[in-house]
Symmetry: C3
Subunit: 153 residues, 3 copies
């Protein structure tokens, strides 16, 4: 079944919108831009971070874990998301897989390196794409002994 020009353009634009959500997760979280971070999630979204944090639901749950737990746990963080592959399941639903490299400093002053994979479900509602579900699969989360992270003077 061949697609129309309109359908093909819509798919391409959807990919781009979804890619922006994945990027805005990093910009919102690392720059502590709460409106930018919140805007990527549907109100009923599930963010399943896994150990040692757990799973969080809805804007309230996401607000709680972000503002009261994660932003307290990290003094600073840099997330670099790559390898995003999006697979559509109809015009308004898509799954994504991507990998994140993160470096930052936890509240104890220790530099850390993290590698994880994001398994995402994206949904379009009333013409807008947002994250419906993000499951984090952590590969490693470890200290970088002797490293201190700070901006140049």
């Amino acid at each position: 079944m061949s697609q129309t020009i309109e359908q093909r353009l819509d798919l391409i634009e959807s990919r781009s919108a979804i890619h922006d959500l994945v990027s805005d997760y990093c910009h919102g979280f690392d720059k502590r831009d709460w409106p930018r971070f919140l805007a990527i999630w549907w109100p009923d979204a599930v963010w399943d971070i896994g150990p040692p944090f757990g799973s969080f639901e809805g804007h309230d749950g996401i607000a709680h874990v972000t503002r009261s737990i994660l932003w307290e746990a990290w003094l600073a963080s840099s997330h670099f998301t790559t390898n995003l592959v999006v697979t559509f399941d109809g015009a308004d639903r898509a799954s994504g897989i991507s990998d994140v490299d993160c470096i930052g400093t936890t509240s104890d002053g220790q530099a850390q390196t993290v590698s994880a994979t994001y398994h995402d479900m994206f949904e379009r509602r009333d013409g807008v794409w947002r994250i419906a579900r993000r499951k984090v699969q952590m590969h490693h989360f470890n200290p970088l002994p002797g490293v201190t992270l700070s901006p140049p003077a």
Copy 2:
């Protein structure tokens, strides 16, 4: 010579398919998903890894180096591919250049950091894009002393 809408859409969709190949290399290799990894290569593809590994040809050569050498050499790995620039040479052939940041643990238990550039040749055959040739140019491949990579408990 101006392009038709169809030609322009085809180019954009080809870029996206090629980007997915570059991402699936990482997902397939790191998650040890053999069907996903194999699916990115043409049966006559060449994977020129360079020192200390060598060059490997065809699905058999790629299976050998991946399953019997590289997956033995790495206990775990995370590849993050960025900076992909694709240049088309006709509608069915394109070259790509991208950079990879890799962190992982070799079989001796030592954490390693790797930086490399991928020089790729992609071909479309019967409507499907796959890798015809990947040449790896390594910039560094070194231990991270004192670092242990493990998932959170």
Copy 3:
């Protein structure tokens, strides 16, 4: 106001051209490919690197800081740019935000890790997209004690 097919295609192609500029910054800088690096900047571009380097203007300023300062300061570097979000302000002007992870060796032989955000302004003139302004916001720039970066023998 709905867009025409032509306008939608143009936007998608512009995003792709802009993404290539961000990638070519890394390829040009790290591989010391001066024509590739220079080609991403408008002749009147501003590159505001911030401390400890400063701000540089025009092809002459960019040539000076790149060739006489930065390529002297780094023995080798690997920039990995991710999280690019492009926002259009009309058909010929766009802003971008992206994050860069950089690892390399400074002239004293010390391995370094850098994290920064690029705040970019892109302009299209006579049909060509280039960078009009790049402001670098550094998050950290620090030594990796005990790490030596070198290619495999």
